[in-house]
Structures are given as structure tokens and as C-alpha cells.
Symmetry: C2
Subunit: 135 residues, 2 copies
């Protein structure tokens, strides 16, 4: 539902990792990414659901990391923000009377599943700390 989900989430987490002891407001975060604070809060809601961050309401409230950046892999972030990476499906139901049409989506799914496994392996070796250290 948000196609920049991964990018937005990793941006948020990078900022949080830079100030691990502070509660950062969605407004402050939104300012760094030039994005509407409501969208930031929507992604933070997702991070909270996954127990990666916690938020404090009210004045001086905000969000901070619940886990050390070295314990958060990019794969975990990937899995939180994507169902799967795909190279796409045709929008319409293919013709079930055609042998190719009948099976194409299943075969594409299998292919994409393999791709996702590879991406996961690759991202599993990179921590938020690694990523954050590049800034």
C-alpha cells in the first residue's frame, strides 16, 4: 500500500539509530525525508507491530529503537515492508483453457519465490548498523 515502504522505513530506522537515546517526533523525521508526518507514523505503526521501536505519546513524545541497530537485519526490514519482491504479474486472469495461461502464474510465483530467497539471504548479512555506518 506504500511502494516506498522499505525506503521510508529504513530512513526512519537510520535516523533512530543515530539518536538511540532520544524520542524522535514524526515531524522531525518527516522533515528529513520531506514526507508527510502521517505517512511516517503509518510506517512507525508497522515497526511497532514488529517490536522494533516504541513510541511515547504526548508532549516530548516520539519514537525510539527497542533493539540495538546491530541486531536488526535488512532482511527483517524487508520482510516487514514487502510481501515479496516480484517481477510482476499480468493484471488479468489468464485464459484457463490455454495450457500456458493456466499455469503461468504458478510458474512465475515459483520463480519469484526463488528470487526472494536469494534476496533474503543477501539482506540477512547486512545489519541496520552496517547501513547506518555509511552515513
Amino acid at each position: 500500500m506504500i511502494s516506498g515502504k522499505f525506503a521510508i522505513t529504513i530512513h526512519i530506522l537510520t535516523l533512530l539509530s543515530k539518536f538511540p537515546d532520544d524520542y524522535l517526533s514524526s515531524d522531525f523525521i518527516a522533515g528529513s525525508m520531506n514526507l508527510h508526518p502521517v505517512l511516517v507514523r503509518k510506517e512507525i505503526a508497522n515497526l511497532k507491530k514488529n517490536h522494533i521501536v516504541e513510541s511515547k505519546e504526548g508532549k516530548n513524545g516520539g519514537t525510539r529503537l527497542l533493539k540495538s541497530a546491530s541486531k536488526i537485519t535488512l532482511d527483517a526490514i524487508f520482510k516487514m515492508t514487502f510481501d515479496t519482491v516480484t517481477l510482476g504479474f499480468s493484471k488479468n486472469e489468464p485464459n484457463p483453457d490455454c495450457p500456458v495461461g493456466k499455469q503461468i502464474n504458478k510458474n512465475l510465483e515459483n520463480l519469484y519465490e526463488d528470487i526472494n530467497k536469494t534476496i533474503s539471504l543477501q539482506l540477512n548479512d547486512i545489519t541496520l548498523e552496517d547501513f547506518s555506518n555509511k552515513f
Copy 2:
């Protein structure tokens, strides 16, 4: 600009590989995928540009493979239909005054480039023939 580009293209190519000696019409192909013939022709135009297929105009015209399915890798199809796979970027320019905002897109690009290399390697080992044999 067509998000189902890869799926549509591989569907077209699979059909062509099943009838390597016939010229298949865009109408016939569209019928298998329940898609508008104009969109099929649009993807075929792309395939022609890449010298994978040839078309014949006029009555009994259509499209057929120019190369054996065993010589066409999924990586080649991938590269024809995608710029790159990404996990997305935030739509707006990030804040250049923020150290994170300033560099986030470059760092994401690097990450995505690594992912693309992996996907390419993986897809390079699968031919259209392999894919087609699953039907």
C-alpha cells in the same frame, strides 16, 4: 511504465516457444493472457528492438522467435523489461541539510545494485526453454 512487463513478455515468449515455426498473431496471444492486443504488440515491439523475435505484417502475419529458446536467458528478458529491481525510493527529494537525507538515495541505490547483480546471476542460469518446459 508497464508493471506486468516482465510477466507479459515471458508469457508471450513461452507461447512463441511452443510454436517455434508459426507466426502467432497478437490477437491469439492476447487471448491466452486475457489482455488487450495492443499491449501485446507493445511488448512485442520491445522484443523486436532486442532482436529476440521478428514479426510479419499483413494477412497471416504475426510474430515468431528469432533465436532458439535455449539461447534466451531469463536474465536477458529481465534486462529488457526492467531498469532495475528496487525495493523502492521515497517519492520526494529528501532534505539535503540532513546528513541522512543527503545520502539515503545513494546508499539505497548501492544496495539495490547489489541485489540486482544477484538476481541477474540467478536468472542467467535459467533459459526460456527451461521455463517453457514446465508447462
